[in-house]
Amino acid sequence: MALLEIKNLTQYFGGLCALTEFNMTIEEGDLVGLIGPNGAGKTTVFNLVSGFYQPTRGEIIFNGKNIAGLKPHQVTALGIARTFQNIRLWHEMSVLDNIMIAQHYNLGYSLKDLFLRTRRYQENEKRIRDEAYKFLEIMNLKEYALEKPKNLPYGMQRKVEIARALSVKPKLLLLDEPAAGLNSADVKELIELISWIHKEFKLTIWMIEHQMTVVMSLCSWLKVIDFGATIAEGTPEEIQNNPEVIKAYLGDGKI
C-alpha cells in the first residue's frame, strides 16, 4: 500500500482554479520532487496535504486514511511534517524550546497535571527535554540549544527548521524549497543533510525545489505542474529533456 495517495485533487480560490485533477502516489521510502514555474500551484499542493486548505474536490489518503479536511495539527500528529519556503521558526525562543514545543501532540499530561505539578507532569517534561537534547545531538545542533534562531546564520536556521520538523517523528516529510536563499556551499551541505536524514530516519520525503542541482542529485522521481495541471512526470533525466517542461519554463521559442 502506498504511503500517500492523492486522487483527483482540485482546488479553486473563488473562480481561480489553482489545481486541477492532481494525482500522486508516494511509496514508503521514496524521495520525490515536485517542480514547476512560479505560481504553478506547488505550494498549494503542500498546503492541501498539510491541512491548511480544505480541498474543493479529491482525496488525500495517508496510511490508508483520508486526511482531506483535517486540521494541520491533526495531520502533523498523524505523521506528516513540513517546512516552509520562508523559514518559520519561533525566533524569540531558544532552539531547544523550538524543538520541545513541537511535542505538543505527545505531551502525556493534562492541564490538571500542569497546575499541580504532578509526577506525571515532571516525568513527561523531563522526557520531552531529554529527547529534545538527544535529538539536537543527532542533528549536530547541541551547541546552539540555548541560542535564539534569529541569531543563527540562514543556513543554520534552515537546518533547525528541518530538525524541528523531524522531531515530530513524521513518516512523511514535506520540504518546501529547502534550498531557497542558500549559497552554493550551503546547498551542498543541504543535499548531504537531506540524503543523510533520508537514510538515517528511513523517511519518505517529498520536496518542492527550483534548483536543478538539488533535484537532480536527490530525487528519484519528479512531477512537473504548470497552471495547476500536471504536464510531465518521470525520472530527473527524462524530465530534463521533456519538451513540455522546457516550454513551461522557457516559453515555446517563437519570438
Binding site: 498539510s50 491548511f52 486540521k71 494541520p72 495539527h73 502533523t76 500528529a77 511534517a81 513540513r82 516552509f84 518559520r88 521558526l89 519561533w90 525566533h91 524569540e92 525562543m93 524550546d97 520541545m100 514545543i101 513541537a102 511535542q103 505538543h104 501532540y105 505527545n106 505531551l107 499530561y109 492541564l111 500542569l114 497546575f115 505539578r117 507532569y121 517534561e125 520531552i128 524541528r164 520538523a165 515530530v168
Partner: protein
C-alpha cells in the same frame, strides 16, 4: 534548600503583613492600598497572558472583572447577608469564612465562561479586529449589568461589607487582606506554572508564528480558548476581591478606563514578563496614590508618563525578561517549580 526560599519569603511576608494589620500598626488606608496592589497584580498579570504571552490585543479585560465582581457579590449577599431583594441569608453568616473562597472560585468560572465571548472570534481574527471585538464585549457586559434591575442596575450593588463583618465576628482578623494576599500568590503561581510548561509555551509559539505553531502540532484554537478563559477567569478573581474590598460595586467602575489601566500595567511592565507585570502593578498603584493630591490632573500626568515610556523604553520596564534573567545571581536563591 533553594526550593524553600520562595515559599518561606511568601509566608514571612504574609505573617508580617497580617501581624502588623492585626496589632493596628498598619492603618486602614495603607491596608487598602496594599489590597489594591494585590488586585492590580492579578488584573495586570492575567491580561499579560493574552496581550503579552499570546500577542493578541484584548482591550476589554475589565468586562470580565465586572462579571467576577457581580457574580461573587450576588452570591455572598445571597448566602451570607440580609438583603432587600434576596431576603434572609440562606446560610448562617458565620460560614462566610469557608464560603468566600468557594465564591471566588465560582467567580473565576463565571468570568472564564464569559471569556468565550472573545475567545471564539479570536479563532478567525487577530490584531486590530480582535481589539474592536474585545471593546465591544466590554460594553456588552457593562450594558447588560446596567439593565439588570435586581442587582441594582446603574445604581450599583452593595451589602458585601456585612459579609466581611460576619467573618470578623468569627475571628477578628483583617480578612480581606488575607484573602487578597492568598489569591494574589495563587494567581501568580498558576500563571507561572502555565507559561513555563511546554504546554503553556504553545501560546508564545502562537504569538511568534501562528502558522508554524499549527503545523508543529499545537492545537491553536484550543490553546487560544484556554488562554482567554484562564486570563478572563483570573480577571474575575480580581473583580471578586475588588467588590469585597470596597463593599460596593458599580458597573461604571469596570468601563473601558479600567481596561486601559490593565493595558498600562502590561505595557509598563513589559509584554510577556510576569515579574514585569507584578512590578508594574505595584508601581502603578503606588503612583495613583502618590499623585492623588493632583486630583484630576493625575490623568494628565499618568498618560504623559506612558508616552515618555513608549518613547524611551517601548519594551516596558522588563521587556520580555524575568527578574532572574536580569539578575542571574537570584537563581542561586530560588527556583520556581
Amino acid at each position: 534548600m533553594r526550593r524553600f526560599t520562595v515559599p518561606l519569603l511568601v509566608l514571612l511576608l504574609f505573617g508580617v503583613l497580617i501581624g502588623l494589620a492585626y496589632y493596628d500598626k498598619l492603618d486602614l488606608y495603607v491596608q487598602s492600598v496594599l489590597m489594591f496592589m494585590g488586585i492590580n497584580i492579578i488584573f495586570g498579570s492575567s491580561l499579560n497572558i493574552v496581550n503579552g504571552y499570546m500577542g493578541e490585543f484584548s482591550c476589554g479585560h475589565a468586562g470580565f472583572m465586572a462579571v467576577g465582581a457581580y457574580v461573587s457579590s450576588v452570591l455572598s449577599v445571597l448566602f451570607f447577608a440580609q438583603d432587600k431583594v434576596f431576603g434572609a441569608p440562606l446560610l448562617p453568616p458565620e460560614y462566610a469564612i469557608y464560603g468566600f473562597p468557594i465564591i471566588v472560585i465560582i467567580a473565576f468560572i463565571a468570568a472564564a465562561l464569559t471569556g468565550l465571548l472573545v475567545a471564539l472570534p479570536s479563532f478567525k481574527t487577530r490584531g486590530d479586529y480582535l481589539a474592536i471585538i474585545t471593546i465591544a464585549a466590554n460594553y456588552i457586559i457593562i450594558t447588560t449589568i446596567i439593565n439588570l434591575d435586581f442587582i441594582g442596575g446603574p445604581r450599583g450593588f452593595m451589602g458585601m461589607k456585612s459579609v466581611i463583618f460576619a467573618m470578623e465576628d468569627v475571628a477578628f482578623l483583617p480578612w480581606m487582606l488575607i484573602w487578597v494576599y492568598i489569591f494574589t500568590i495563587l494567581s501568580i503561581w498558576a500563571i507561572y506554572r502555565f507559561v513555563s510548561s511546554t504546554y503553556g509555551k504553545g501560546i508564545i509559539a502562537i504569538h511568534q508564528d501562528e502558522v508554524a505553531a499549527e503545523i508543529m502540532s499545537v492545537n491553536t484554537n484550543k490553546m487560544k480558548l484556554i488562554a482567554f478563559m484562564f486570563s478572563s477567569g483570573l480577571a474575575g478573581v480580581a473583580g471578586a476581591l475588588f467588590a469585597h474590598v470596597l463593599g460596593y460595586v458599580n458597573p461604571n467602575s469596570f468601563n473601558i478606563l479600567k481596561s486601559t489601566e490593565g493595558l498600562v500595567m502590561v505595557y509598563l511592565g513589559g509584554m510577556g514578563s510576569l515579574s514585569g507585570s507584578v512590578l508594574a502593578a505595584i508601581l502603578f498603584t503606588f503612583l495613583l496614590e502618590l499623585l492623588r493630591p493632583l486630583q484630576i490632573i493625575k490623568w494628565v500626568v499618568i498618560p504623559l508618563l506612558l508616552i515618555i515610556l513608549m518613547q524611551f523604553r517601548p519594551e516596558g520596564i522588563m521587556g520580555n525578561r524575568e527578574l532572574s534573567d536580569i539578575f542571574p545571581r537570584l537563581r542561586k536563591f530560588y527556583q520556581f517549580k
